[in-house]
């Protein structure tokens, strides 16, 4: 009995020991929990607090309105309008083709919409949503809303769209906006604009839309929204309003631009008109143009292929990227070079037998039999080649290129559109750099002779020619050409004027300038431009030019009727008016149109008539067939 009792007591003792151990384990376990809680809630509290806030608060960007673009008279050239789009979130839809097919039963989706959407899928990777249809009608919005439950990941959004009311007009100057692609993202990151472009889908791709992107875009606003785990907004916590982009007021004159584009008709070419005293660009035309509206929602492949494969290359900005030999429009600058360098005096005359022979090669004048005795005035008025063959030969390439270079020919003008071509001002150094083989690198004196009449290696953009003639009209004071007159803050109305930027003053003797101006005025009174400017109610100075497209063998004469259309010469004309106090200077080039006097000068006449007199042409400029010999 006592043994049993003893056993029971021992047993109880053992049990209570075990209970004690268990109690200690419980204490230890709870202590571990306490340490863990202390670590999470005190030591790491800030970290988890931030995490919880990140969970809770979603920052939603509010896209600012893009600035509008106006012409110099306040006429809208680019604006925004609100419209509904049907958008698909690619990340939330597994089978996009299937959902698009299903959507097509509710809302009309054209094959072009599908193609454009596929293109966007490739280009705009990483976008939250992409539009399958834009500009929905109210009825379509209602129809989709009723069927919305069938389409998770598809939504209707009100968005601002860019619109260019004048479509093709000035399309190369304005450029266009398009959806941000990987290249644009690179630009955005490079300029540290990532946060400002959250919520922005579009960006300027070309023209002013591109070069003034930072002005037009505005500052993105933010809304702090409390969201639940499903990402649904619960309430707005704070809001920072966006700041609209600045408006741009251009130096361009829409009406003038219209006159030019009407005057061109279906012909290809370019015209740049500049206000000589400021460098403000009054007209900036490259024909044919394109409709920038097509690019805004992402261009569909059909239109894109049409624009790209057209032989007329409508996307090519001929005004600043087309490079052409200046032809005889080069002569006034050559003559000025002769005067300034002392290689010729105005009265010094040569006899023109109709050709100039050099090194066993015959350089022909346009006029068979020649112009007879020719002084400098006559050489410009009748555009005598022989005079400039001899002049170039006497002057040599070094003096020539150094002088001509002062007028900006062969270097970028610095206009406020990106991607300008530099052109080519031939010189010994240029040739050394351009060619590899030593025999090609050498400059041959015969080459100077072709350069002297604006042919040979010469090739400049119409913009450079316009800048050169504007500088001449402005007595050697050169301004940087620019398209934007002032930038306007939408909120404050404050206007920031783009000041005319004088690049330099070319040291020229006033009497020499006066002489060249007088000779160019003579062109329009009694010379190659006279027929085009017959009866003009203002004084004007001009120079015709014809640029060879294919090289004509020495001793052969160019025959327009025999040459295939695309191999025909380009017609050129440079002008400014009025002669005494020039308000406008321009360069016009018509591709494959033959003689400058016949095809280019009449366009210049219409432009000057409108700008100086307000006369509007009803139809394209006529081609003056009888002026055909008057280069």
């Amino acid at each position: 009995m006592s043994l049993e009792l003893h056993n029971t007591e021992r047993e109880l003792y053992n049990f209570q020991t075990r209970i004690g151990v268990a109690g200690a384990v419980v204490m230890a376990a709870f202590f571990i929990l306490f340490v863990r809680f202390f670590y999470l809630q005190v030591v790491q509290h800030d970290y988890y607090q931030t995490k919880a806030e990140d969970n809770r608060i979603s920052v939603v960007p509010i896209t600012p309105n893009r600035g509008n673009i106006f012409d110099r008279n306040g006429i809208v050239m680019a604006r925004n309008y609100s419209a509904y789009t049907l958008e698909i979130a690619p990340g939330k839809v597994s089978d996009i083709e299937r959902i698009v097919t299903e959507l097509a039963t509710v809302i009309e989706i054209r094959p072009s919409d599908r193609n454009r959407f596929r293109r966007l899928m490739i280009e705009a990777k990483g976008a939250d949503t992409l539009p399958i249809r834009t500009r929905l009608t109210d009825e379509e919005v209602a129809r989709f809303a009723a069927n919305r439950y069938r389409f998770p990941g598809v939504e209707i959004r009100a968005r601002l769209f860019r619109q260019y009311p004048y479509a093709e007009l000035a399309s190369h100057a304005l450029g266009y906006i398009g959806r941000i692609n990987s290249g644009d993202l690179g630009w955005i990151t490079e300029h540290a604009l990532d946060s400002n472009y959250k919520g922005t889908d579009h960006i300027g791709k070309t023209g002013i839309e591109q070069s003034y992107e930072t002005e037009l875009h505005g500052i993105t606003g933010y809304e702090q929204v409390e969201v639940d785990a499903g990402g649904r907004g619960v309430r707005t916590l704070s809001r920072t309003a966006p700041t609209s982009g600045n408006n741009l007021v251009l130096t361009l004159d829409v009406e003038l631009q219209k006159v030019v584009e009407t005057a061109f008709g279906d012909r290809r070419g370019a015209l740049v008109a500049i206000e000589p005293a400021t460098g403000g660009v009054l007209a900036f035309v490259s024909k044919p143009g394109f409709d920038p509206n097509l690019f805004v929602d992402g261009i569909d492949p059909t239109n894109w292929d049409a624009l790209n494969s057209s032989l007329d290359r409508p996307l090519n900005n001929r005004a600043q990227n087309g490079i052409y030999p200046p032809g005889s429009t080069f002569k006034p600058f050559m003559a000025l070079a002769a005067l300034e360098s002392g290689k010729r005096t105005p009265t010094q005359a040569i006899f023109d037998p109709g050709h100039f022979d050099f090194g066993g090669r015959r350089f022909r004048d346009d006029k068979v039999g020649g112009h007879g005795m020719v002084d400098m005035y006559k050489s410009i008025v009748v555009s005598c080649d022989t005079y400039y063959y001899t002049l170039a030969n006497d002057m040599g390439i070094d003096i020539l290129s150094r002088f001509i270079g002062q007028f900006g020919l062969g270097s970028r003008t610095g206009i406020d559109i990106k991607g300008e071509s530099p052109g080519v001002l031939p010189s010994q150094e240029w040739k050394m750099k351009r060619f590899r083989r030593p025999d090609q690198q050498k400059w041959y004196p015969g080459e100077t002779i072709s350069v002297g009449i604006g042919q040979g290696y010469n090739s400049y953009t119409p913009l450079q020619l316009a800048q050169a003639i504007a500088t001449l009209a402005n007595n050697g004071v050169m301004y940087k050409p620019h398209l934007v007159k002032f930038v306007e803050n939408v909120n404050t109305g404050e206007r920031r004027v783009v000041e005319p930027e004088p690049i330099k003053t070319i040291p020229l003797k006033p009497e020499n300038i006066e002489f060249i101006k007088r000779a160019m005025a003579g062109v329009n009174i009694e010379g190659t431009g006279a027929r085009a400017f017959a009866g003009a109610q203002y004084t004007s100075a001009g120079k015709t030019g014809t640029a060879q497209v294919i090289a004509i063998k020495a001793g052969e004469k160019y025959n327009e009727s025999k040459t295939a259309e695309r191999h025909r010469d380009h017609a050129l004309f440079i002008a400014f008016a009025p002669v005494e106090s020039p308000k406008i200077a321009l360069a016009v080039l018509v591709e494959n149109a033959g003689f400058g006097a016949a095809a280019a000068a009449p366009i210049a006449r219409l432009v000057l008539d409108y700008y100086l007199l307000g006369k509007k042409p009803a139809k394209p400029a006529a081609i003056d067939e009888r002026a055909a010999d008057g280069d």
């Binding site: 049993e4 056993n7 047993e11 053992n14 049990f15 209570q16 075990r18 209970i19 268990a22 109690g23 419980v26 204490m27 376990a29 709870f30 571990i32 929990l33 306490f34 863990r36 809680f37 202390f38 999470l40 809630q41 005190v42 790491q44 509290h45 970290y47 988890y48 607090q49 995490k51 919880a52 806030e53 969970n55 809770r56 409390e226 969201v227 639940d228 785990a229 499903g230 619960v234």
Partner: protein, 365 residues
């Protein structure tokens, strides 16, 4: 008079200390549940119903004498075992696991029965062998423990298997399994971890892996741990305030009224709240251990000791899992989580504790 007497008789076994701690915990549970189930207000009312039923169960069980409980132990265990076999053969599959057995009018989860049946059976066995306890008795106990545990584990229901095996283990431990064997078991347990790893289901392995590095799968199985840890951590020292938990109210915490309710509590009441909760649990466990230590028979001691330690296991595993130091297993926070089944089981256990406590003097004399 008669009714009064009856009431006094019913209330007699109720331990005041334990009841007040339980009441405090239950109240905290309601307060938290109200916040956690704001989008589903019916849950509070439903939980009141659950509580009323569970409390009735406790009162009823508290009337049963330990002798009767002992007699019931083998049949209840065998019934539970049969039902588990039944589940394995004819059970309904819900959410990918075979846990429920359809009994025509209602469905039951036999594994839940095992949480009580297991300590009952083992305590009964050790009581029977009390005087002649040999080392092989522990082997038999291990078999009694392992058969249902394995059946439950392969349903699969890791959380319940853990609780059932823990309940059984506590009995064996308290029955005096020698320290040498315990240490040996521990070592061989560690050594057999790789083997055990091979037996786990893919989702169970994933849970353990995500515990080690939740960021590896932040939207998948790591999501629970990450969001719960954020909730606890962002609660800070004093908490965000009742009904102010952003993690809870913006639905970042999954299962926030059931297994993860502690994340809601911890976010809204902070470290202070956690200390209060730990203290209450500790008080309850301490009271339970005391009751066990003073229990009159070997059976009663083992049973009540195991029950209160199982209660501890619930609390520790749940809080450990929510705060990210234990893998995610389906174990509720005792007396706080929403859900009737767990509540009934827990109160059943408390009822046993009270019955044992009430009958301590009767046997001793």
């Amino acid at each position: 008079m008669v009714i009064n007497n009856l009431l006094r008789h019913i209330a007699e076994p109720i331990d005041r200390t334990m009841l007040s701690v339980v009441t405090a915990l239950v109240l905290l549970g309601f307060v938290t549940l109200y916040s956690a189930s704001y989008e589903n207000p019916g849950r509070v009312a439903a939980q009141v119903g659950n509580l009323a039923f569970a409390f009735t169960v406790m009162l009823t069980v508290a009337q049963i004498s330990p002798q009767l409980l002992m007699r019931l132990a083998p049949p209840v265990y065998l019934l539970g075992l049969l039902l588990l076999v039944g589940v394995a053969l004819f059970g309904d599959v819900r959410n990918g696991a075979r846990r429920w057995l359809s009994l025509g009018i209602t469905s039951i989860q036999p594994s839940e029965i095992m949480k009580i049946a297991m300590p009952l059976m083992l305590a009964w066995y050790f009581q029977k062998r009390e005087a002649v306890l040999k080392i092989y008795d522990y082997g038999i106990a291990a078999i009694i423990l392992l058969i249902p545990t394995l059946l439950i584990a392969r349903q699969p229901d890791l959380g319940t298997a853990l609780l059932v095996s823990a309940a059984g283990f506590y009995v064996i431990f308290l029955a005096g399994l020698s320290w040498k064997v315990l240490i040996g078991l521990g070592i061989s347990g560690l050594a057999s971890l790789p083997l055990l790893w091979g037996m786990l289901h893919d989702y169970q392995r994933k849970r353990i892996l995500t515990l080690i590095d939740p960021s590896e799968d932040p939207l998948g199985s790591g999501y629970h741990i990450i969001q719960a840890t954020i909730a606890v951590g962002s609660g800070g020292f004093a908490g965000k305030g009742w009904l102010q938990g952003t993690q809870a109210h913006l639905e970042f915490i999954p299962e926030r009224s059931t297994d993860f309710i502690f994340a809601v509590f911890s976010e809204e009441f902070g470290l202070i709240g956690n200390i209060v909760l730990l203290t209450l649990y500790l008080a309850l466990i301490a009271r339970g251990l005391m009751m066990a230590a003073n229990a009159p028979t070997f059976f009663a001691r083992l049973l009540s000791g195991s029950i209160i330690l199982t209660f501890f296991t619930y609390a520790f595993v749940n809080m450990g899992m929510v705060s990210g130091i234990l893998p995610v297993v389906g174990v509720p926070l005792p007396l706080v989580s929403y859900g009737g089944t767990a509540l009934v089981t827990l109160f059943f256990g408390l009822g046993i504790l009270m019955s044992v406590h009430k009958h301590r003097k009767l046997v001793q004399t």
